[in-house]
């Protein structure tokens, strides 16, 4: 009996001691609490790696949505006190006048203002990780900007579903710009932030690992973006001017979606609540795959309804020939997992295409994505999933878009549209353009082609 008692005591003692190891992870398992965190800011190498003082830094906790703001000191360090541990995305912006720029870097820029942006995602903050470094790059300002993106669509039962999507390009300058030959690319990337062997720390694809990427490539992520669908404005160079303060609407289907339609099978399409959708019959261009699709052996999509009165966009890239990508029209992701860029390119035909890095063997189902140099991008916007539980990593570098923007939900008739910065004496509207979509865009309760933010 004595032996039995001793044995049971030993078992109980062993059980108690092992409790200390239950949460062991090599980094300790102490009580969590608020922490202090520093962000070290530097300009990029073209700006001499100098520290960035008086930049606005925003920390967003991706687990709770809480936002913390701080300014960097003259030593380039932004200090945050008492923030909760967790996963964060960081955005930094520095705005300086051309005089300040000249003072700091020794030459005068052509614009009155220069904006620097930096962004980092999936930054873990805890008691063991108390700082990070961020590089800010000069934001590229274009005269043409993406003004409005209507990707959410309208009610699946009362509205036009996804058929009424459009994108709007705006002339933000004071000179006429010809849109002939302008490319609009729908970018491709991962739809979740999970880090895998073929991704970057942000969870985005590491395109350096793409199967056909030349050996030793290290700039596939920093110098390029990747697109599954590219459309182009037609024209001979002077056919399609955009006047200052005016825009072009590129519709998926240039139809009056508030009125009944007939699909390509001859079946009627009725709209139960016209107020939820829009009239795109006055769109500048539309995307019609019909003829192109037939040329590559595809049937005309039932909802790819052509308006003969509206010019069609050119289909510039729809996948590698023989491995064409699957969209049957200019379909934007309704929850918001797309990004868009506009660019000109004389050597577009020479652009390479690659499979995404998760592909290890190329087969009949492999998809290929056009590699577009960031150097040619005039403007770009990173959209984001409306559901904070389903966020995706950014596709665009911070010099093009430092953050992201989203609607509230899918199929709710909302669009994202640039804010008005100012209206000139002549009535020309200048839109906000800091290459930071969270700051530049707002949501419209209902998409408004050719309209402006209220």
């Amino acid at each position: 009996m004595k032996k039995l008692f001793l044995l049971l005591s030993a078992v109980l003692l062993t059980a108690s001691c092992s409790n200390d190891d239950d949460f062991s992870s090599g980094n300790g398992a102490g009580n969590l609490g608020s922490v202090n965190f520093k962000v070290h800011l530097n300009y990029d190498t073209t700006h001499n790696d100098l520290v960035v003082g008086l930049a606005e830094v925003v920390l967003t906790n991706t687990e709770t949505g809480d936002i913390y703001n701080a300014s960097s000191a003259t030593n380039g360090v932004a200090s945050f006190t008492n923030i909760l541990p967790g996963s964060y995305s960081i955005t930094a912006t520095k705005t300086m006048s051309n005089l300040e720029y000249a003072d700091l870097f020794g030459f005068t820029p052509t614009t009155e203002q220069v904006i620097f942006n930096g962004n980092q995602q999936q930054v873990i903050v805890n008691a063991n990780v108390t700082s990070t470094s961020l590089v800010l790059r000069a934001a590229r300002m274009g005269d043409l900007v993406i003004k409005q993106i209507y990707y959410a669509g309208s009610s699946t039962t009362q509205g036009a579903l996804f058929r009424d999507q459009f994108i709007e390009i705006y002339n933000n300058s004071n000179e006429v710009i010809y849109a002939d030959g302008l490319y609009i690319a729908q970018l491709y990337g991962k739809t979740n932030r999970t880090v895998q062997s073929f991704t970057l720390p942000s969870g985005q694809f590491d395109w350096n690992q793409s199967l056909e990427m030349p050996f030793g490539t290290t700039n596939a992520n920093t110098n390029y973006v990747y697109s599954d669908y590219v459309i182009q404005i037609p024209g001979n160079g002077t056919q399609y001017p955009i006047q200052p303060g005016e825009s072009m609407v590129i519709a998926q289907n240039a139809q009056n979606h508030q009125a009944p339609l007939v699909d390509n099978n001859g079946e009627p399409i009725s709209i139960n609540n016209p107020a939820l959708t829009i009239d795109l019959s006055a769109a500048t261009f539309e995307v019609y795959l019909g003829d192109w699709g037939v040329s590559v052996g595809r049937d005309v999509y039932v909802y790819d309804i052509q308006n003969p009165a509206v010019p069609d966009m050119n289909i510039a890239y729809w996948g590698r020939p023989g491995w064409y990508n699957g969209n049957k029209d200019f379909l934007m992701d309704n929850p918001g997992r797309d990004s868009f860029v506009i660019f000109h390119a004389e050597d577009f035909a020479s652009y390479a295409n690659f499979s995404d890095p998760s592909v290890t063997v190329i087969d009949n189902n492999t998809r290929f994505f056009l590699q577009i140099p960031t150097a040619v991008i005039i403007d770009g916007v990173d959209l984001q999933h409306f559901n904070a539980n389903s966020q995706r990593p950014k596709m665009l570098p911070s010099a093009i878009d430092a953050s992201e923007i989203s609607c509230d939900a899918s199929f709710n008739s909302q669009s994202v549209i640039r804010k008005i910065k100012q209206t000139t004496a002549s009535g020309r509207v200048i839109l906000e353009d800091t290459n930071n979509s969270a700051a530049d865009f707002v949501k419209l309760a209902k998409a408004d082609p050719y309209g402006f933010a209220h």
Partner: protein, 519 residues
């Protein structure tokens, strides 16, 4: 004086005459024996020398509850259909089998702020790590429970026992967001003991695993957006802090339990005194989806770990006789809980629940069949504290629960018997405190759960009940019973106003009707 002494002698003689040990104890005959029935499955080796009568009892009952005065994460109305069968079978004096099967179906109405299988009806705080949305909805739940056990005495010295249980549950909510939860719980214990004359010692070790697979879906997908906070699914990790989590669509909770216990008993005839100690550790891990959207048991997919440690002890006295039977218990228990967040690499939640209590009861039989009176009083002091280090929440509640039960066979004639019992309980918060410092702007937990629940916890409340059980002795030792029970609960103080002046304090009612057949 002489007459008085003679009278006292006669009373004592009479008492002695009736103070014979109960030859056979029928556990189903009255609620007085319910504690022995419960302990039989936990520490069966304590009762190998008690002559427990063989029986099988089958019961069907319907329970309806109207719970206006409650904590937030409890349904407003409940309807439960129950079927159970249980029994004891002594194969021979050294080998006993016992077991039970239970099935119940529960319909819950208007339950909000939780998308999990737990409720706060009988606990102050839900265990951390669960999905949450404010929107109230109705649930349909099913529960299957099977338990069995056996004890064997070898050469009147060595005691061996084994108990096993299996529980299968399903929870479904019928409005967006729509969780579907399936739970499997399997556990067993091995018991060993040694008996020498009136003394015995025993010990047991047990393992248990509970796996809960959950998924949350929407019929109207657009409701799954932050712009609709009532239906947008979030994750509660702790007690006050809400997070975004993409694993709401599929996830697994797996809880592993380790149990140990030991005790000593002295028994002479049907008089028992024992002291018991028990320990339990549970580790509940949350497994999230992997990169491909699949979820399975893999330590790399664990996002949160919740551990509880339970230490308990009790001392029991039981005396079972033909006329008078007594029981008493002193009990102590302490439970600590700690929650660990893998991504944040630390402990974000801690709780302690301490309890000390006592029970005293007696049963007097007018004859072998009729119960003259059964009475029981009990009291429990609870000292509980819950802290969310990132929420930030610090909740303290010290309370006293005191109750009594009185019952009697009011009518007995031939094969018919009517047993009536009333029970009362009074709850009072003796000390309390609630500190909440919002560390996140996007949390509704304080107004939605914290303050209303604390308002309920600080309110004194009185619960009273009445039950009537009508038994008819059928042929062949079978007994048919019909019963009806009514319970009511009401707040008897306005302390709730300090935390939530809008808390509903309407009267709660519970009504149960059923029938049993025993043989």
């Amino acid at each position: 004086m002489k007459k008085q002494l003679v009278g006292l002698f006669m009373v004592l003689s009479t008492s002695t005459l009736f103070a014979q040990s109960l030859d056979t104890i029928s556990l189903r005959s009255n609620g007085f024996y319910h504690s022995i029935e419960q302990e039989l499955t936990q520490t069966p080796l304590l009762y190998t020398s008690l002559n427990l009568a063989d029986y099988t009892q089958t019961q069907l009952d319907l329970q309806t509850e109207d719970l206006a005065f409650k904590r937030v994460q409890t349904a407003e109305k409940k309807q439960q259909y129950n079927f159970s069968t249980q029994g004891i079978f002594n194969i021979d004096p050294s080998l006993r089998l016992f077991g039970a099967i239970r099935f119940s179906k529960t319909e819950e109405e208007n339950l909000g702020y939780t998308l999990s299988s737990e409720r706060t009806q009988y606990q102050e705080v839900l265990t951390p790590n669960y999905f949450i949305a404010p929107q109230k909805g109705n649930w349909t739940n099913q529960h299957y429970h099977l338990q069995a056990g056996s004890t064997k005495t070898i050469r009147n010295r060595y005691l061996l026992g084994a108990t096993i249980h299996y529980t299968n549950e399903k929870f479904i909510r019928t409005v967006d967001p729509r969780p579907q939860i399936t739970s499997h719980d399997l556990g067993g214990k091995l018991h060993a003991g040694y008996q020498l004359n009136q003394h015995r010692v025993y010990g047991y070790a047990g393992l248990q695993q509970k796996t809960e697979t959950g998924s949350i879906s929407y019929v109207n997908q657009w409701l799954n957006a932050p712009v609709y906070p009532a239906t947008y699914t979030r994750f509660s990790s702790g007690y006050g802090r809400l997070l975004y989590s993409n694993t709401y669509s599929s996830h697994i909770f797996r809880t592993l339990y380790q149990q140990l216990g030991l005790g000593y008993q002295y028994q002479k005839d049907n008089q028992i005194i024992n002291a018991n100690y028990y320990y339990q550790k549970s580790m509940k891990d949350l497994y999230a989806r992997n990169v491909n959207g699949n979820v399975f048991i893999d330590k790399n997919l664990i996002t949160h770990k919740y551990r509880t440690l339970t230490y308990g002890a009790n001392v029991n006295y039981i005396r079972l006789q033909n006329q008078w039977s007594y029981k008493a218990q002193l009990r102590l228990k302490t439970v600590t809980g700690d929650n660990f967040s893998v991504i944040e690499q630390g402990r974000n939640y801690h709780s302690t629940q301490d309890q000390i209590g006592a029970t005293f009861g007696f049963l007097k039989r007018a004859d072998q069949q009729r119960i003259a009176i059964r009475a029981e009083i009990y009291t429990d002091y609870h000292q509980n504290r819950y802290t969310d280090l990132l929420g930030f929440t610090d909740k303290k509640i010290n309370s006293l629960l005191t109750g009594c039960v009185i019952g009697s066979d009011l009518y007995r004639k031939g094969a018919h018997r009517l047993y009536v019992e009333t029970d009362w309980a009074f709850y009072q918060a003796l000390d309390e405190g609630l500190i909440y410092n919002a560390t996140s702007s996007a949390s509704y937990f304080d107004q939605g759960v914290l303050y209303p629940d604390h308002a309920y916890d600080v309110s004194s409340r009185l619960q009273g009940g009445l039950q009537a059980n009508y038994f008819v002795q059928l042929s062949n030792q079978r007994e048919l019973g019909l019963f009806a029970r009514y319970y009511g609960q009401t707040a008897v103080s306005d302390d709730y106003k300090k935390y939530d002046s809008t808390l509903s304090i309407s009267h709660n009612t519970t009504f149960v009707v059923g029938l049993t057949i025993a043989y």
